[in-house]
Amino acid sequence: MLFLFWAEFKRSWIQLLRYSSEVIGGIIGTTIIFYGLFLSARYIAGPGFQFGDRLDAIIVGYVLWALMLFILGDIAGGLQQEARTGTLEQLFLSPYSAPQVFLMRAFASLTLNLAINLSILLLIMVLTGSRLAFPITLIPPLLAVLMGAYGISFAMGSLALILKQVQQLLSVFQFGLLFLFTAPVETWTGGMRIIGWLLPMAPGAGLLRDVMARGMDLNAQALALALLNGALYLVVGLALFRWSEQETKRQGKLSGY
């Protein structure tokens, strides 16, 4: 598995360096969209309004959303792309199982995605004057968010395997994800709080807002819930992927596009 991880890591970075203009375009585009939203919000609020830690909280949510989109693009988008170009079946001829191959592929490109999103975050911070904190305690909730993000991406990857043409669905789905990452579930109370715990990635995103934007310490109980949430979505996503692989093979539609 380590060799497979290394091969995927090498492949990701070679393609990134060889086609760096695409990545740079992605970083600039994502940053410009946020800056446009920021300028609009400032215009509506008026020149004297201070965003305070609310801006920081929104930036955390937005950058997590961008990270999610890159991961989703890697797994679900990558599957569609490979089915179209005709390398998908070669991947399924491997003695490694398809979830193993795609999980290693996702882990290998994680460094890439984190580097891209850190660039976006730093650019946004420079443009908006935001002052986010980067304590070591951000790692566990980030891990919870990543597990959830991979789970959701594998679930969408399953749809891509079964239905093939899911581009439209993915586009609509992106807006739903924006809600998950920017809704302040950590401030919800009563029955809504329980819904907030169940939503994918939302508890981890709330904790990241706490530690990065509000300077708060990690709450052990909330962290346990966030990690459980992430692990649950990852397991469900992988199980769905495994099922859709078998179903696609049964229907003889692995390469059909």
């Binding site: 290394w6 399924f92 001829l93 390469s255």
Partner: protein
């Protein structure tokens, strides 16, 4: 020893309330160092069969064994298969040939060091050494196809599945792929080859299986099949028209005589007839030989008849004499 054995493979597709029996009771076997040409018209079930062998499509029933392992249950079987699938690029176009070979080598279970070494050897052997650092998308179609075959061999598989390996290639590239197929088989690998270019199938294959409407209608050694379908007829072509006296004499022996051509159904008469023609100039003496193309067309046309399509044996016995 058989590298590949399939037994009674069946696959039916269901779509919008309709069912299509794509493959019906297909049993095939290929021994080491043997090339099986798997032929059939479009939609006959070739690709479904190949993908069931490769573990990419689950059969409804029947079994596949590759050196005794089931590719649908045992991932070790996948280490024994190399495949170049039709209509697919089979390669990453944004990587170089070396990078493709090394990546797919590890994906097939090799260590990076072994994959690198095998990649170097294969690039040299496939005459792609000077293109090792070029992007695949810049290579010619022939080079891409050779590279796809090299990638399929990176993990040294015992069974190679080649689905239309010469499709869209120019004459030189086709010759090059043919040479490689011969060499790969000579190394002891079993090769399942599908192609619509029947002259290539005839040249390369040791055995032929023809599938039509999901059923194998004939499976024979190539030379035996050609022999069975070839007439025991000799044709003698003359430079000048034959005179009346010789024409009558030859006709009395049972030959069919046209002004400049003589047909003999009885091969024992050949030298009697040749002696009778002395000293007339003879341009050509040849034995009628069926081509795989003729055999294929005959079987497929007959196989389309409903009463024959379910019974390969009847088609066979109806054709052979």
């Amino acid at each position: 020893m058989h590298i590949l054995e399939t037994h009674q493979l069946k696959k039916t597709y269901r779509s919008r309330g309709k069912t299509l029996a794509a493959v019906r009771d297909v049993s095939l076997s290929i021994a080491a160092a043997e090339v099986l040409a798997f032929l059939g018209p479009n939609g006959a079930g070739k690709t479904t069969t190949i993908k069931m062998i490769a573990g990419l499509i689950l059969p409804d029933s029947g079994s596949v064994r590759i050196a005794g392992c089931d590719p649908h249950r045992d991932s070790r079987a996948l280490k024994l298969i190399g495949a170049v699938l039709e209509g697919n690029r089979n390669l990453y176009w944004r990587l170089t040939p070396s990078e493709n070979l090394e990546y797919f080598g590890v994906l097939r279970g090799l260590t990076p060091r072994v994959a690198r070494q095998r990649a170097r050897d294969l690039l040299e052997r496939f005459d792609l050494g000077d293109k090792r650092r070029a992007l695949v998308q810049t290579l010619s179609r022939g080079m891409q196809q050779k590279l796809a075959i090299a990638v399929a061999l990176i993990h040294d598989p015992q069974l190679l599945l080649l689905d239309e390996p010469t499709l869209g290639l120019d004459v030189e590239a086709t010759e090059s792929v043919k040479r490689l197929v011969r060499e790969i088989a000579a190394e002891g690998r079993a090769i399942l080859l599908t192609t619509h270019q029947l002259d290539i199938a005839e040249e390369l294959s040791d055995r032929v299986a023809i599938i039509n409407q999901g059923t194998v209608v004939v499976e024979e050694p190539t030379s035996e099949l050609i022999r069975q379908f070839s007439e025991a007829t000799y044709r003698i072509e003359l430079e000048h028209p034959l005179d009346a006296e010789r024409t009558n004499k030859l006709r009395s022996l049972g030959a069919v005589v046209e002004p400049k051509q003589i047909y003999l159904r009885d091969p024992d008469l050949l030298y009697t007839v040749v002696d009778g023609l002395r000293p007339l100039p003879i341009l050509r003496v040849e034995r009628d030989q069926a081509s795989l193309r003729d055999i294929f067309l005959t079987l497929v046309r007959q196989g389309r008849l409903p009463e024959l399509s379910n019974s390969g044996g009847e088609v066979r016995s109806g054709q052979l004499h």
